[in-house]
Symmetry: C2
Subunit: 259 residues, 2 copies
């Protein structure tokens, strides 16, 4: 029987809230078996950009990563946020190893091709080095990935953290029974976005299509769900979406996605 | 026979000069055998502090690391500088892994005790986890350490990069034949600091004491030499001090320190 590997993505709202982050990290540290944490930088990157007087570049509501923005993203994601999380996990006796996709050449990406919009130094993942990640896990280490990859030619690339989590989960699903967790501020996928008690306990692909067709999935949830079902098609066993309660054994309030 | 491990510390002047850094990284990438790179952040941390309007806190010419300074140091050392070096090494087919002492719990330190001066979040190294470093090296990875450690209780600490290099070299000297390199802007220890041709080829402990007594070692070189001789007393085989020429096989212009 294959061993279980938990890949956990935490959202920006948890990173920004010191109390929520502490609670999350306690849960995460006590999670048994092999595990990997993936994070972005939340609003801290925007804060530092503001302080440095660098105006955010947005096109159609999406951030453009130019050189000075990339430098700040690298400082905040790989520096400030990553090392704070790793230091707190060490204090909880979880032997964490802060990484980005460039470290140990774990995640390569290509600069997003310019079509209508030039997104700048944004990366679309091309390969995950699952062998090297497996070796690192076997040393008893818990990788903590920030949302950066590289192109193999010396260029770092800003990459969506949800996608990093699902691509890692897919890459390692041949070696492990992989469970992917999206942990954020809501308790799961909701029937009614205004009613936190309307959590849908289980969604399969057919139901997902119906929900999409009905237009009842919240806009922010769509890419997460899209990633999740793509990973379920590609070997990931299970995806769970919820808030901090995701890791409490007695809690059943979250959404499970199955292929 | 034990295998050789090269521990290389690069100085701030090389980090700040993109051409010198490229040249250095080419030499480093082609260095055979196990190797570890150690770097600080040079003047980049001061630049970012300036841009953020954070005044440098100095007492008796030494930087005090308060909380906001520490945050910037973490961003610049572990983020910007570390990831740029790792990305460039990956492009040179050197499988680098960016780290700080908190990662994989490799280097613990204690906050420097307050005596006459409170240095803030400055760390004095208490232990090096040589077993974990050895395991990481055996995966074919090249650790790239920035000048940060942790106290095991969740606190990151700013730590002198020269000391990190010598403590790593000492810690791994039971497993490896360790050679420690201090690579900076001068071609070696000079008889006459104004004459770059006055390199002293070899210095042993007796000669070192004489040079110290004569007052002929440049002030900036003293802590480097002190660290070097401490590491030679504690198992390190050899220390070499020089500029980029250190790694060119035909070049003999550098200073070798022996115990």
């Amino acid at each position: 029987m294959r061993q279980t590997l938990s890949i956990v993505k935490i959202g920006g709202n948890i990173i920004e809230d010191s109390v929520a982050l502490s609670l999350f990290l306690e849960h995460f540290a006590s999670l048994e078996g092999y595990k990997i944490l993936v994070h972005g930088g939340g609003k801290k990157a925007s804060e530092v950009l503001n302080k440095l007087g660098i105006a955010p570049k947005m096109v159609n509501g999406r951030r453009i990563t130019d050189q000075e923005t990339l430098d700040v993203v690298i400082m905040v994601y790989a520096g400030l946020v990553n090392k704070e999380i790793v230091a707190r996990l060490q204090a909880l006796n979880c032997n964490a190893l802060g990484m980005s996709g460039v470290d140990a050449d774990t995640i390569q990406a290509q600069k997003r091709p310019v079509q209508e919009i030039d997104y700048g130094f944004a990366g679309d993942i091309t390969s995950v080095n699952s062998e090297k990640m497996h070796q690192i896990l076997q040393l008893g280490l818990t990788p903590v990935f920030c949302a950066l990859t590289h192109d193999g030619k010396g260029q770092l690339l800003n990459t969506n953290a949800d996608t990093i989590a699902s691509e890692i989960a897919i890459g390692l699903s041949t070696d492990f029974h992989t469970v992917l967790y999206y942990c954020f501020e809501l308790p799961g996928v909701l029937e009614d976005v205004n009613d936190p008690n309307s959590i849908i306990a289980k969604i399969d692909h057919t139901m997902y299509q119906k929900l999409v067709d009905k237009g009842s999935i919240a806009k922010g949830m769509l890419p997460k769900m899209h990633n999740a079902f793509a990973s379920l098609k590609n070997g990931v066993q299970e995806v769970r979406i919820g808030n901090l309660g995701l890791f409490q054994k007695e809690n059943k309030n979250y959404t499970t996605l199955v292929g």
